[in-house]
């Protein structure tokens, strides 16, 4: 994974650092602004690199629209399905998935972009879904939404994905709470790196944390999954 792909990096701009020092995280700031219904300027999202430059929300905002604070209708494209929701603009993608769509594979742990348990894949990139507002990736006001993939979409017709199967073979999970996040981070990584070294694996999965200490199994699982997927089983 290059540093550009690192989900941590998409979250950290100089503005963020400044806000953190003042005791207000970027996302908290966005939530508060959203909550009071102020028409935020596009600069607020300047540090956001996850989707294409012109997100539907940003376009709406730059056209001077006020979004929220009440619930607004929006459409998410999750695992190839269209999901219509009416939620407050401050709802994170993670909470939208878990609380409104009952897609609970992505886990809520740190809720501020540190641990990776909430990792989903958006437009091909591993993203911390706790650090994205649902509306930022929604189809909104006539503009297309982002392509969101959660772990629920990984199992096709009841058949375990080779990555999940490698996790089982190598016992790369204990309590399993971090596991879906690791599987998705691993998927995003292996989609772009077909022949990874252990050193690359360590870097690629450095944005996910496990408390039970399953990293030894994880290192082996990722390498095994890469071999399986190269063999055309993926």
């Amino acid at each position: 994974m290059t540093s550009k792909d690192d989900p941590k990096n998409s979250e950290c701009s100089p503005e963020d650092a400044k806000q953190s020092r003042r005791g207000l995280g970027r996302r908290e700031f966005v939530k508060l602004v959203g909550g009071t219904g102020v028409a935020v300027t596009a600069e607020v999202f300047g540090g956001q690199k996850l989707a294409s430059g012109a997100t539907p929300l940003r376009q709406a905002l730059s056209a001077g629209k006020v979004v929220g604070p009440g619930a607004v209708p929006m459409t998410l494209h999750v695992n190839g399905e269209v999901k219509k929701l009416t939620i407050e603009p401050r709802v994170t993608l993670l909470d939208a998935l878990r609380n409104y769509l009952d897609l609970t594979g992505a886990k809520k742990v740190c809720d501020r972009g540190t641990c990776g348990s909430c990792t989903v894949i958006i437009n091909g990139k591993a993203v911390y879904s706790c650090n994205v507002l649902a509306i930022e990736v929604a189809e909104y006001d006539g503009h297309p939404g982002a392509d969101i993939h959660t772990i629920e979409g990984l199992t096709s017709q009841g058949k375990l994905h080779p990555i999940s199967a490698s996790f089982v073979n190598n016992d790369a999970q204990q309590c399993g709470f971090c596991t879906p996040g690791f599987v998705m981070a691993c998927k995003a990584f292996l989609d772009k790196h077909h022949d990874p070294t252990v050193e690359q694996v360590k870097e690629a999965l450095g944005g996910n944390l496990c408390r039970c200490g399953t990293y030894m199994g994880l290192r082996n699982a990722v390498v095994e999954a890469a071999m399986k997927m190269k063999g055309g089983h993926g």
């Binding site: 886990k107 990984l154 204990q174 399993g176 944390l209 399953t214």
Partner: protein
């Protein structure tokens, strides 16, 4: 008749093999539903309000503004006015609302007035803590003064480790749902069977039988989840008040502030030896904090190596740092660090290889001396100790200094009370049911292996029911007691059921029930294996009536399990003396735990414990602000856990076979997490030539120790 005793090694088709955990596919595909994932129809979300002060008296609580907030359905006061709060993060009130966002908003509007009181949030030496101390122990064996006076070498030092947290990834909490007077709880717990009584005691229900607890999987406990806690009670009360299901999970900052901390422990030690390394005399004055009370109790020093002449004293420092909970192997990692560090310093003073010193004194370890000897020798071989070890202080040029450290540990791990029901159906299906829980240790898999092995069936042929209080009560999963308990009860229940089946089948094989065995999917005559009937056909002879049998872990001595393990670990580190950064290049863990049921998940326990050990050795510390009395790193950016790239290699070796298997099943969760701190601290001292006195071994502490007087 089938014998309930464990089969000999050559007859085991599943036990002791490397078998993938049975709920693995469920977890790695995201389908496993944790308490945090439970969404019930009409469910509300609740959030707590915590005290911002470390020590204060509650003057008044006004919930009217919170109640008027959009979506709010009810507010529950958790600490009444007039009461004292003893830590920042004390649970004050909980608010339930339609959405999580609304509940969080409303929780901020609960108005609480406090009268601030003085606080202490630093685990200082007892003499500096004023009246905030309780002396917990003072004892002496033999004649320590004389022993230390006559010792040819005496080493003095101060060692310790700070308060750390559990930081379970699934935070504490759950969902409460009422149906009339009956309460269903989906709670993340290590003690499923204990929750109904807890709810009755808190007057949430009239009687415990009105409570059902469901928890198929749970996201980590490590000793911090033995109860539903005040928030579980508040959640159930809110659900009752409103008449709708309520979910309340702790937010991450709350989790780190109040839901689990390991007491700190520090000690001033004097330990003596003869020039040949024979230990003679120990004296220690230790202290630490377990929060506002003396939680954690007194350590038993020195650890493992019982030096006959010793004097120890322990004082608890009562602080407002937050409540302590048992943390994986309570007190043992701290005692181990203090003891093994002191012994390594002593060996260094003598100019002796610490491994040699441990081996010279191996008889002081007691009945497990032979085990320790074998484990130390195995670890030394896997680490290549003889070739790599050098006297204290790596003399090679350049800023990177390498060193080796060693430590040994012990734990009990006998089985907890356990009850299992086994049912064999006429269609051949087998079901075992226990009111137990799988914390991620592999309990579900172990139960399945024992039942399947007993019936001579593949693992997939047995259905394992756990995580529901409708099944027979089972003990709390703590202290490495689960595997012993559930293995025994499952083996006994399944054997009893199988013997009933043998009674039904024997006539058709023209044999006595005593002559039969269940092997490879068949029931057959022991003396004539070709005289056999497939499992399904055998079960068909039951007609319409299933067989059911109960098994219980025998109270007191149970010959399927035992207690008491050793374990040796060695660490190899690189320390950059310019930056102070410590890197664990390699950790070797050699561990016994009696008869291993599943070698794969057993090894995972040890790997995981080593990684958790690296994490607390290098990174973890609950940092308090003395001015405000609050925790400064109640998040996962600054409460640091080791990541996948934060260490080199780990080698695990399980001691199995003759001398080990016949001890029966012994728990494994705690022992391997005890030694990493000591082994890594010793390796750092060996590398840089000076002791870094306390964990975590942060760059700042390493540099400070070097400045004070390092050889490097």
């Amino acid at each position: 008749m089938a014998d309930y005793r464990w089969p000999p090694a050559d007859k085991r088709s599943l036990i002791g093999h490397r078998i993938s955990r049975s709920d693995g596919p469920w977890k790695s595909s995201g389908r496993a539903k944790y308490s945090y994932d439970v969404n019930r129809p009409g469910m509300l979300h609740a959030k707590m309000v915590l005290s911002p002060y470390a020590h204060a008296k509650v003057v008044s609580i006004d919930t009217s503004a919170a109640e008027a907030m959009p979506g709010v359905k009810a507010v529950e006061i958790m600490t009444e006015p007039g009461k004292e709060v003893l830590w920042a993060g004390h649970e004050m009130a909980a608010v339930a609302a339609e959405t999580e966002e609304q509940a969080r908003d409303a929780a901020r509007r609960v108005q609480i007035r406090y009268e601030k009181l003085p606080h202490l949030v630093s685990d200082v030496e007892p003499e500096k803590a004023g009246k905030h101390t309780v002396q917990l122990s003072e004892e002496a064996d033999g004649n320590p003064d004389q022993a230390l006076q006559e010792a040819e070498v005496v080493s003095e030092g101060q060692y310790g480790t700070s308060v750390i947290t559990h930081c379970c990834l699934e935070s504490h909490g759950g969902v409460a749902e009422w149906d009339g007077d009956n309460l269903t709880l989906y709670v993340s717990t290590q003690n499923l069977s204990g929750i109904p009584a807890e709810m009755a005691q808190a007057n949430v229900v009239n009687s415990a039988d009105q409570v059902r607890v469901l928890m198929p999987v749970m996201g980590g406990g490590f000793g911090s989840k033995f109860a539903a806690d005040t928030w579980g009670v508040a959640c159930a009360r809110l659900a009752k008040k409103i008449g709708r299901p309520v979910k309340m999970m702790l937010e991450r900052d709350q989790e780190l502030m109040v839901a689990g901390a390991r007491p700190s422990m520090y000690a001033k030690v004097r330990v003596g030896a003869k020039r040949d390394g024979t230990l003679a005399g120990w004296s220690s004055e230790s202290w630490g904090t377990g929060g506002p009370d003396a939680a954690g109790g007194a350590p038993n020093l020195p650890y493992v190596l019982r030096i006959p002449d010793r004097r120890v004293r322990h004082t608890a420092v009562l602080t407002n740092m937050g409540p302590a909970r048992p943390w994986r192997a309570p007190n043992n990692p701290q005692m181990c660090l203090i003891t093994m560090s002191a012994l390594e310093d002593l060996a260094a003073k003598i100019g002796m290889d610490p491994l040699e010193m441990f081996l010279r004194n191996i008889q002081l370890t007691g009945p497990l001396a032979k085990t320790y000897q074998e484990e130390l020798e195995k670890a030394a071989q896997l680490m290549d100790w003889q070739k790599k070890w050098h006297p204290r202080g790596d003399k090679t040029p350049g800023p990177i200094k390498r060193g080796l450290g060693v430590s040994i540990h012990t734990w009990g791990g006998a089985g907890h009370p356990s009850n299992c029901n086994c049912t064999i159906q006429p269609d051949g299906s087998v079901e075992v049911s226990l009111g137990s829980q799988d914390l991620g240790t592999g309990t579900r898999t172990v139960i399945g292996i024992v039942a399947a092995e007993t019936c001579g069936l593949p693992l997939e042929a047995v259905k394992v029911n756990i995580g529901d209080t409708k099944y027979p009560p089972d003990g709390a999963s703590g202290g490495s007691s689960t595997v012993g308990g559930v293995s025994s009860s499952t083996r006994r229940a399944t054997t009893k059921a199988l013997n009933q089946l043998f009674e039904k089948v024997a006539p058709s094989l023209g044999a006595k029930p005593d002559d039969l065995e269940a092997v490879g999917g068949q029931i057959r005559v022991k003396s004539n294996p070709s005289n056999a009937i497939p499992w399904k056909q055998a079960c068909a002879k039951l007609g319409t009536m299933p067989i059911t049998a109960a098994g219980q872990r025998q109270p007191g001595n149970d010959n399927l399990l035992s207690s008491g393990v050793g374990g040796a670990q060695m660490a190899e580190v690189s320390v950059d003396v310019e930056t102070g950064i410590v890197h664990v290049d390699k950790l070797v863990a050699v561990q016994d735990c009696g008869l291993i049921i599943d070698l794969k998940t057993a090894e995972s326990q040890v790997y995981g414990a080593c990684i958790m050990g690296i994490s607390y050795s290098l990174f973890e510390e609950k940092i308090m602000d003395e001015q405000t009395g609050r925790c400064l790193n109640a998040d996962m950016e600054f409460y640091k856990l080791a990541g996948i790239g934060d260490f080199g290699d780990i080698t695990v070796h399980m001691m199995t076979g003759p001398g080990y298997d016949e001890r029966g099943v012994i728990g494994l969760g705690e022992p391997p997490v005890i030694s990493p701190g000591a082994a890594i601290s010793n390796a750092v001292a060996n590398a840089i030539g000076v002791r870094v006195p306390t964990l975590p071994l942060t760059p700042a502490k390493v540099l400070a120790a070097l400045e004070k007087g390092g050889a490097a």
